[in-house]
């Protein structure tokens, strides 16, 4: 017992994780007057030092692919820190027959430092889709419950977009969108021809100054992190105002191990490993918010065992770790000869798509449930490693001809990525691996993952649509995908789209869900989960905006309950 170093201080709330959910919670709770201890498993982030904005590949000795070329697997060394598919000393496992890839970020701000900034609202139907098609479950809350919080989040973080009145893609509080790139004009024209909806995208990037943050300078590199904070990251937009209240205590290098349960059946704090000293420490708090990422929060609950909760904290339902989903993903690309004739011009724009294709077949019967959206890009981006891999594979050879062909084909490709809804299934979940601990001594997760026919048929539809659009644009579709095998129609491995959610879902019934509609544990009133874990479904919209709207709403509820003395 005496080995554990106890901090005598009692905080109002201990928040675990500083990403989209945890950052939002820290801001709302501290601004509401509560004292917050924020545990972050990684180091602080220093934008001026850590972000590689406006650097050229040749300014890095490894030209962007890291020591021995190994960073290429983790999206390259230009990306803002600090995520990876594998973290040294912190393994996870996949059950036999499963292959799940888990992207984790250990740094203040988490994955929001480098995310795609795609900020899409879920649609009203997304909260009630089980009622419509009988699959999965409805949410305990409706679009109308969440809509005011979408408004708050969008107004605060800054999201550009346009009012389009498309029922699958609700409009929001938008800044003006950037002008279209050439690739946008070409795809839009092709979509018009074949009856596909194509509209300006909605990204958390400022096209006008918001709260003193400078507008975008159009270098096209949001993924590298933005030194002027012109795009949204939790580290630059949520944490600073929380710090300013004087109510936030940030503890970095703190790997949460267990949520501690008091004799009264309430959480009384969090025990964590201080990575620098490899000692066990403890934070005492009147309430605990888990925002460690969907699977990490599930892991923490499952590892928090007690006499009252032998299967993990707040897990009397057995739902913790279950209902895991990722987005369905399939990608493709084509060559557009029209682009060969474009004069050289600045094509950078914002760091992401200027236009996109929301789910457009909501008005007809399809041979798979739910839907997907399409992201696209290409054109005259900054050349990087792998720029001509496809050309080299196809045409081979060497010398003057190769050089000429590279010149000719540069900037003529358009890539497309479908991102669709997976239906939760009983073969897809995470649990504690009984045999493995990480280097901090904490039992790790074991993943089970399986796509069903629903998702595979969706991937097939994506491939057919990509081809139809590229061909309608006068281009040649290049991607060939297998009809079966491990990745039929190019469907991505589970986890690869990095939209893993659902592992502590909310619900009206405590027997089949972990949280109520305010992200509060049914079993333990002073435990909340505010990340991707509460999501009941994973619609064809990237989850980050919804994670923030849910966290904002749950934090206001937590403040209210704290004031009433209910926690």
């Amino acid at each position: 017992m005496s080995q554990v170093i106890r901090s005598p201080k009692m905080y109002d709330v201990c928040v675990i994780g500083s990403g989209a959910g945890g950052g939002t919670a820290a801001k709302i709770l501290t601004e509401g007057g509560l004292s917050v201890a924020l545990l972050e498993a990684g180091p602080p982030v220093y934008p001026e030092k850590d972000f590689k904005m406006l650097m050229w590949p040749y300014e890095l000795p490894h030209r962007g692919i890291g020591v021995g070329g190994r960073a290429a697997e983790n999206f390259g060394e230009f990306l803002a820190p600090n995520g990876a598919w594998q973290i040294e000393g912190e393994p996870y496992t996949s059950a036999p027959g499963s292959n799940f890839q888990w992207f984790r970020s250990r740094i203040v701000g988490g994955r929001t430092n480098h995310w795609g900034r795609i900020a899409l609202r879920f649609a009203p139907i997304d909260f009630k889709s089980a009622t419509r098609d009988g699959l999965g479950d409805d949410w305990p809350i409706s679009y109308d419950d969440l809509s005011p919080y979408y408004d708050k989040v969008e107004s605060y973080i800054g999201v550009f977009g346009t009012h389009e009145n498309v029922s699958s893609a609700p409009d929001g509080m938008f800044l003006p969108p950037p002008k279209p790139r050439c690739t946008d004009l070409i795809v839009k024209k092709a979509c018009d021809k074949i009856g596909v909806i194509c509209i300006p995208s909605r990204l958390a990037i400022l096209t006008k100054s918001v709260n003193g943050r400078l507008p975008c300078h159009y270098c096209g590199q949001c993924g590298r992190g933005c030194v002027t904070a012109s795009n949204f990251s939790s580290s630059q937009v949520m944490i600073p105002p929380a710090m300013k209240t004087g109510q936030l205590t940030m503890i970095t290098g703190a790997m949460a191990r267990e949520v501690l349960l008091g004799k009264d059946g309430k959480a009384e704090g969090v025990s964590y490993i201080d990575k620098a000293t490899r000692t066990e420490k403890r934070v005492n708090a009147r309430a605990v918010v888990l925002s460690a990422s969907a699977c990490e929060s599930a892991r923490l609950l499952l590892n928090s065992k007690s006499a009252q909760f032998p299967n993990g904290l707040a897990n009397s339902s057995g739902a913790v770790g279950r209902y895991l989903t990722d987005s369905v993903g399939s990608d493709g690309w084509g060559i557009i000869p029209q682009l060969e004739k474009m004069p050289p011009h600045n094509h950078d724009g914002v760091g992401g798509m200027h236009m996109y294709i929301p789910w457009w077949k909501f008005d007809r019967k399809n041979d798979f449930p739910r839907g997907y959206h399409i992201e696209f890009g290409g054109g005259r981006d900054m050349p990087g490693v792998g720029e001509f891999n496809d050309l080299l594979h196809e045409e081979e050879g060497y010398g003057a001809t190769l050089k000429k062909r590279a010149r000719q084909t540069y900037g003529t490709g358009i890539g497309m990525a479908g991102r669709g809804e997976m239906i939760p299934n009983p073969d897809t979940y995470c649990e504690i691996d009984p045999n493995v601990v990480d280097k901090w001594g904490i039992p790790v997760l074991r993943f089970h993952f399986k796509w069903s026919e629903y998702e595979i048929r969706q991937a097939k539809d994506m491939q057919e649509t990509f081809r139809a659009i590229i061909e309608a644009a006068g281009g040649e579709y290049k991607t060939k995908t297998p009809l079966n095998g491990e990745r039929p129609f190019g469907i991505a491995e589970g986890g690869k789209i990095i939209h893993e959610v659902g592992t502590a879902r909310m619900g009206a019934d405590p027997k089949s869900s972990v949280l109520n509609g305010f992200c509060q544990a049914h079993d333990v009133k002073n435990v909340f989960v505010m990340d991707g874990a509460p999501l009941v479904t994973n619609p064809d919209k990237n989850p980050t905006l919804t994670i923030m709207a849910l966290a904002w709403r749950a934090s206001e509820y937590l403040l209210d309950e704290a004031k009433k003395g209910n926690l």
Partner: protein, 199 residues
């Protein structure tokens, strides 16, 4: 101490302070950033004879690498070639850090010498330009290996080297300018697409 070293120290210190301070709305003073880049460049060119010292390949293999890079992306009327663009340095540095690449590239160069010795009784570098061209024309295309499976290793190796040479070239200043990429700069407004030519 010269005035120069004081300036350098001061500027680098400014840089360090702004980084640690962590104020998110600051940018690195342009002057300091420029100075830092220049300092790196100066230190590089101060190395013996301004020449890159290979970290992995022995000198005769490094010479082969230079010859091959130059053949894959040569200088032409528009721009310099892969050697001028630093592709051999890039490849050598990464290979020194990656054991799989050491086998693939080191072994590949060895394979090329053995192949040339068998065929022309000379190692690759001692072959005539016509002989070298003949070998490369064989291993630069997969279809040749389909007819003669003894070329398999050579074809795989050359494809890998071609990829790395292109990576080295098209991430260099010369390569990026060759493609006429315009950007990586701060703009007040994004101009959008210039008028599209007819499809």
């Amino acid at each position: 101490m010269s005035e120069h070293s004081v300036t350098r120290r001061d500027i680098l210190r400014t840089l360090a302070v702004s980084a640690v301070g962590g104020s998110v709305l600051q940018v690195i003073p342009a002057k300091a950033a420029e100075f830092a880049h220049q300092a790196v460049h100066n230190e590089k060119s101060a190395s013996p004879a301004g020449k890159y010292v290979p970290k992995y390949f022995p000198s005769h293999q490094y010479e082969m690498l230079i010859t091959l890079c130059d053949t894959i992306i040569p200088k032409d009327e528009k721009s310099g070639g892969a050697v001028e663009a630093g592709a051999p340095e890039f490849i050598d540095l990464l290979t020194s850090e990656n054991e799989e690449w050491q086998v693939a590239l080191g072994g590949g160069l060895q394979w090329l010498d053995s192949f040339c010795s068998d065929r022309y009784s000379n190692v690759f570098l001692d072959c005539t330009p016509a002989q070298r061209k003949e070998v490369l024309d064989l291993i630069a295309f997969r279809k040749n290996a389909k007819q003669d499976s003894s070329l398999n290793q050579g074809v795989a190796y050359f494809a890998f080297l071609r990829r790395l040479t292109c990576d080295g070239f098209y991430t260099s200043k010369i390569g990026i300018e060759d493609l006429q990429y315009i950007g990586n700069t701060a703009l007040r407004e994004f101009p959008g697409c210039p008028p599209l030519p007819e499809a």
